[in-house]
Amino acid sequence: MSSIRRILWARRIPTGDGDLVADVVFPPGHDETTGPLPTLVARTPYGRQSFLREVWLRLVDRGYVLVACDLRGRGDSDGRFAPWQRDTGDGVTVIEWAAAQPWSDGRVGTIGGSYDGLTQWWAAAGRPAPLRCIVPMAVGVRGRPGGRPFMDTGIPWQYWMWWFALTAGRTRQDVTAPAWGRHWAHRPLRTFHEAVGFPTAAWPDYVEGRIDCLGPGWRLSEEELAAVDLPALIVLGWWDDLTTLETWQALQAGPHAANKHLLVGAWDHVGNIVPRARLGGEDVSAGSLDPLAVVGEFLDRHLKGGTVPELPRARMWHSGANRWEDLAGYPGGTGERVLHLALDESGSGVLRRDASGPDTTDEWLHDAADPVATLTPLDAFAWSDPPHDQRYLEARPDVRVYTSAPLTAPVTVSGRGRFELSVSADAADADVFAWITDVHPDGRSMLPAGFELEGRRLSVRNGPRPEPLTDGEVVRVGVDAQWLHHTFAAGHRIRVLISSAFTPTCAPATGSDAHWADQEHGRPFAVRVHHGPTHPSTVHLPLQ
């Protein structure tokens, strides 16, 4: 059979408000006169030709026609791109158009990751009749209950300007061209897009709160998620967008949980397509597989029927234990271990199971002009690979470290940890970030999951309405930790890192209570974590 694939280029799909443009790819030996075949639809802002890579065409070769479509205002499609704004109508139109073509058997599945996963959720919300299954990879769509901006953390992400630059104009831009380094410290951030050289980027919409990650234009409501009765395969890597697992949690709790499946491996955002053997300086090859082969099995079952076996509910890479597990559900944690943050006699941070001990305080100087910064290269942001070993961050005086004693028996954490922290600052506002590492006997402090980490802006500790800090006030804040399915082996130690900044992803707090986009760097100020009976700080780990 010839390896030449028939492609119908730039087919125009009328919407009643301009045309959308798609390429139609047939498997070898097929063309528009043969078939009909089950059909895959991908909708992307990154250029529809991105689906003509060999990795995606392997799915086509399983016997599908692929319709790869530019989103409205992107590539050759008409109109203007509205990032992070649900385009359910366009999604339904493309799916129905594809299913109505003579080469389609009327059964449609959708594929793609990240934004291309988001567009699947948006289309599914419109319940197009031909849609039989979806494979939204590496993206979350479940809103968070607190009502705060920026994924309910209150902390704006400077990273998004990089993404808005990537998707400025109609085609994918060369984001290595701007001098990101020189401009990353630009203030006020309201004009960041101008400074960095993308005046037409959607940054002002983010600044003004018109669009937001997991915001109203992005998320699906709990009711909409519960109503998704289609089979869905959720794919994710541990060093990836972990908000995806909140979406999974909602699906698993919904009325159609039985046809939802989860695949989580040892890869990062781009690794959902082709995982890398080394990640963050760590050999993760044992935890990688061929995700698109799993996707192919899922599509075969739901678009071709027959005898293709069902995937397990959750196929997870169990880090630390270093094995794949097929689970009846995730998370599997039923218990909880609470560890208390404290200082020992030498002043070193420790994690203890008992709450007794004196009241102590850990203080550092937060400087927005010299914030905690990961080794993320700015010109390759989302595709970069900063070290998993966090010791380069721990060496900073503004990253505080709390470490357990070596474990005498393995501890398996399955689910999402949570911090309850007592914090104060010599400023009207500040941020706090906290995350968990696994300290190996040789001293490596390895990040078991997470790329973007979460924190909490102190002024929104009680809800979306800002409440500036007053003099020396100690406040209690909850901060989500990473989702994990991880075993801390005997001899290892559990470590918690706490900081007041996490750049370049997040814009560092300046201590001001002005709008974040109007602030200058300001002067350094002290931030404290409190421990002990009066102002306890704890980490809560869901145990399996």
């Binding site: 010839s2 030449i4 694939r5 028939r6 492609i7 119908l8 280029w9 730039a10 087919r11 443009v21 250029g47 030709q49 003509l52 590539g75 050759d76 630059a165 400025a168 104009g169 109609r170 085609t171 994918r172 831009q173 060369d174 984001v175 290595t176 061209a177 701007p178 001098a179 380094g181 020189r182 990353w184 960095v196 050289g197 993308f198 005046p199 037409t200 910064a373 990961t374 080794l375 993320t376 290269p377 700015l378 010109d379 750049t503 370049p504």
Partner: protein
């Protein structure tokens, strides 16, 4: 976190400029940080000015790519603006080849002249299609444009687009496919061998397009600016095996203030320097970085052009030439006694004319290949082959070879072939001629020039313009002329041509004329 700012250049991406009818065109701007730019460079590109990778492996970024603009802005301390032409990259509107470029180019220059990032004289640049836009701007916006830098300017209709001397280029279907959307479309999915051998009317469909404008391609080429003189200093870069060599040569001759650089390059190598071109190592001295020429032009904007520099093959060295080299006509005429089929025939080139004729049968189903494979036709970065021995054994190629030369002879300028030939076809007859240097021993040859003509039914005479060469035939080397009726997939066969036709070349009326430099 990496903070290195290696160029010190500010950028402004997707800035809106109004095209000639108000259509939103998108430009990217690059300005050295903290320095008032000494000039403004405007570069036109049809491949998307935001593309993050060069087209093909190359140490030198493509003209108009972000990497190129950043380097040029930093190196010359100028503002560089790269323009997405209408319907390409981030620009609105529909791309119809050649139609909007003249008016849009004028509008872009006028709009940018008043932009706060732009200062100093305006210098326009482009390569290939982009060079046509730059030529259009330089010719019309006279008061604003002060200089031009062109790589492979395609000249007017009948030079490169839509074909040559009345013969359509079949391989431009690949280019048209590449240009069929805002992103360059991939070329790796089609069975080009199958598509390009279909009747041209069926090729669009065979390729998977609904309407590529392939039928109208010839008509729209009338919008090309041609090779009328430019009123500003111009630097032109081309290569001997660049299809735009002939129009580049002509444009340089017509302009009062032109610097012409012709290297041992294909069109791709003129854009992406390499010392290995066509299977030959031309030596490190053959390599010219276009960026250096651009900076040089910007630094001497008000000075007159200096010279014509050509890389003389055979010598394999650069020569500075006078504007009009003094040459005499060296004429070689074909003859044969047994027949000139294949290199095993006895076709000869000599000072005296033969009196006979050579015949051959041309089979449309088995055309003479332009290259051993389709690589060059499908991808400009594919290796070219300059040794034409792969057609040595074909009976549909007439081969005429001179005796070994007793002394070196330097040829510099355009070759022409006066052809006296006929065909039994009721349709137009294509004639393709190539000239080579045959190395001593005859096992290797170097392709120098190619010409084509369409002879109407009933007519016998044609003059084939083979374009310029700069070549020294060394002692012991021989000159070879090949004649054929097809050259696939470079030239499209004439419509209604029969499957097989009988061709005849008359020796007495046929002459190859080479301009030889007088000592």
């Amino acid at each position: 976190m990496r903070f290195l700012d290696e160029y010190g250049v500010d950028v402004r991406f997707d800035e809106a400029i109004a095209g000639s009818d108000g259509c939103r065109l998108s430009v990217n701007m690059f300005r050295p940080n903290g320095i008032r730019p000494s000039a403004t460079v405007i570069v036109w590109t049809p491949f998307g000015n935001g593309r993050s990778t060069p087209l093909g492996p190359s140490p030198v970024p493509s003209l108009g790519s972000p990497r190129h603009c950043r380097r040029l802005a930093a190196a010359a301390q100028v503002t560089v603006v790269s323009v997405d032409i209408r319907g390409r990259g981030d620009s609105d509107g529909e791309f119809v080849p050649f139609v909007h470029e003249q008016a849009d180019a004028d509008a872009v220059v006028t709009a940018l002249a008043g932009h706060p990032w732009c200062a100093g004289p305006v210098v326009v640049m482009g390569q290939g299609y982009g060079a046509a836009c730059a030529v259009a701007a330089a010719r019309n916006a006279t008061g604003l444009v002060t200089a031009a830098f062109l790589i492979s300017p395609p000249g007017g209709p009948g030079e490169v687009f839509p074909g040559r001397d009345g013969v359509r280029r079949a391989d431009l279907l690949v280019w048209r496919h590449l240009m069929a959307g805002r992103h360059p479309l991939p070329t790796g999915f089609a069975d080009w061998a199958e598509v390009l051998t279909r009747p041209w009317q069926e090729q669009e469909h065979g390729l998977g397009h609904e309407n590529l404008g392939w039928a109208d391609f010839g008509a729209t080429a009338a919008g090309l600016p041609g090779d009328a003189p430019l009123p500003v200093p111009v630097t032109i870069l081309t290569g001997w095996w660049d299809p735009a060599c002939r129009p580049s040569w002509a444009l340089a001759r017509s302009c009062p203030d032109a610097e012409l650089v012709v290297g041992p390059w294909t069109a791709y190598a003129a854009r992406h320097p390499s010392q290995h071109v066509g299977g030959i190592d031309w030596g490190p001295g053959s390599v010219v970085d276009p960026l250096e020429l651009q900076v040089d032009l910007l630094h001497r904007a008000s000075e007159p052009a200096r010279r014509t520099r050509v890389f003389v093959t055979g010598d394999n060295a650069w020569h500075d030439l006078p504007r009009t080299p003094s040459t005499v006509e060296w004429t070689l005429r074909p003859s044969s006694s047994r027949g000139a089929w294949t290199t095993a025939g006895d076709g000869q080139l000599a000072d005296t004319a033969g009196t006979g004729a050579d015949e051959f049968t041309s089979d449309l189903a088995d055309p003479v290949p332009a290259q051993p494979s389709l690589g060059q036709a499908v991808s400009p970065s594919a290796p070219a082959q300059l040794d034409l021995t792969f057609v040595d054994g074909r009976h549909d190629v007439l081969v005429y070879t001179s005796a070994p030369l007793p002394a070196p002879r330097l040829v510099l300028g355009e070759l022409t072939l006066e052809l006296d030939a006929d065909s039994d076809s009721p349709a137009e007859a294509l004639w393709v001629a190539s000239v080579e240097d045959v190395f001593p021993g005859g096992t290797a040859s170097l392709h120098l020039a190619l010409g084509v003509a369409a002879v109407r039914p009933g007519e016998r005479k044609a003059v084939l313009r083979l374009g310029p060469i700069g070549h020294r035939f060394l002692p012991g080397h021989r000159v070879r002329l090949r004649l054929a009726a097809t050259c696939a997939p470079l030239f499209r066969p004439a419509d209604h041509v029969p499957a097989r036709e009988q061709r005849r070349v008359h020796h007495a009326g046929t002459a190859l004329r080479l301009p030889e430099v007088v000592r």
